[in-house]
């Protein structure tokens, strides 16, 4: 991803999130049942959907990595999962605040939606120790990809199982028999959702660029260090580092 693309993405993200939050507080009406506290919905639900979607995206990149062996896909899978875990932390925190305000408790253990999200989140927390417990880079990438695919397949299965459980506590906002969200709430939700989705894309983009740059720097440093030990070739430093130097990971 180019620097100019990232800058545009970051600006667009800030704009959309700003517009979304403005709609939340100045346009969307208070919900009849929960009142003002329902405003958390516009933050909590998009974060949850994007976090779960990000885990699936990580799994898709992992499939591409296993099929092609290209380390770029492994990096994308890793960064997607990393960003989604951070979003997961935000989901759990905002959800706990909403639960305390609505149900009087920070956490409800007999609510399938909450517990299943926690299980998915904890599952992905084990991704890091699994990955970094393996020293050999190729094996590390392969095992991490297998994990990402398995866990990524678990996300939609888990979602469907929870929907089938038909809990009465956690609200079902979309597609209810009563008609779901009214138009102004939908619009607010969609703008917030787009903003949070773009935020995820932007953070993934920044992480990927940072990872690629530090990889290139390590290779450059290695090439230069090797260069100092060798006798001079008479073509200067640039000539020595060019062939194996600044490749992209």
């Amino acid at each position: 991803m180019k620097a100019s693309t990232l800058r545009t993405l970051a600006l667009l993200t800030a704009l959309l999130i700003g517009a979304g939050f403005a709609l939340v507080f100045f346009y969307a009406p208070n919900e009849a049942d929960q009142g003002f506290i329902q405003k958390i919905f516009y933050l909590h639900v998009p974060l949850a959907i994007i976090a779960l979607g990000g885990f699936v995206v990580g799994g898709i990149h992992a499939i591409r990595h296993l099929r092609s062996g290209d380390p770029v896909h492994d990096a994308r899978s890793y960064v997607s999962i990393h960003a989604s875990v951070i979003f997961g932390v935000a989901v759990l925190l905002t959800g706990a605040i909403w639960a305390k305000a609505s149900w009087g408790k920070w956490w409800v253990w007999d609510e399938p939606t909450l517990v299943s999200f926690l299980i998915v989140f904890l599952l992905y927390c084990t991704y890091y120790p699994l990955r970094y417990a393996i020293e050999d880079r190729e094996r590390q990438a392969r095992y991490a990809s297998v994990f990402a695919i398995t866990a990524g397949a678990f996300v939609p299965l888990n979602f469907m199982a929870v929907r089938a459980a038909q809990s009465l506590v956690h609200p079902r906002t979309f597609g209810t028999v009563d008609g779901g969200l009214p138009g102004d709430m939908w619009l607010t939700f969609l703008v917030c959702f787009a903003g949070i989705a773009l935020l995820w894309v932007t953070l993934v983009g920044f992480e990927l660029v940072a990872k690629r740059t530090s990889g290139q720097l390590s290779r450059l440093r290695r090439a230069l260090d090797e260069g100092t030990d060798r006798p001079p070739l008479g073509s200067g430093v640039a000539g020595r580092i060019a062939p194996g130097g600044a490749g992209t990971r």
């Binding site: 933050l43 905002t94 940072a210 530090s214 720097l217 440093r221 230069l224 001079p232 200067g236």
Partner: protein, 73 residues
Amino acid sequence: MPALPLDEAGKYVAAAYVVFVLLLVVYIGIMAAKLGRISREIEEIAELAERNRAAADERAAESARAEAEEVRS
């Protein structure tokens, strides 16, 4: 549960949005630290490259001098 009054609900809503912004700020801070490290590394590598180039030029000049002396003798 009945809806909370606005003054009480407001605190929770503010807390949720502040948590989100704080997480974002922490993340951006970590990214900034990473970028700082990358920038320092680039400076170090540039210095190393300049030192290498200077050493290579010196060696090339020396060998040229040696060759010239050989031709003269």
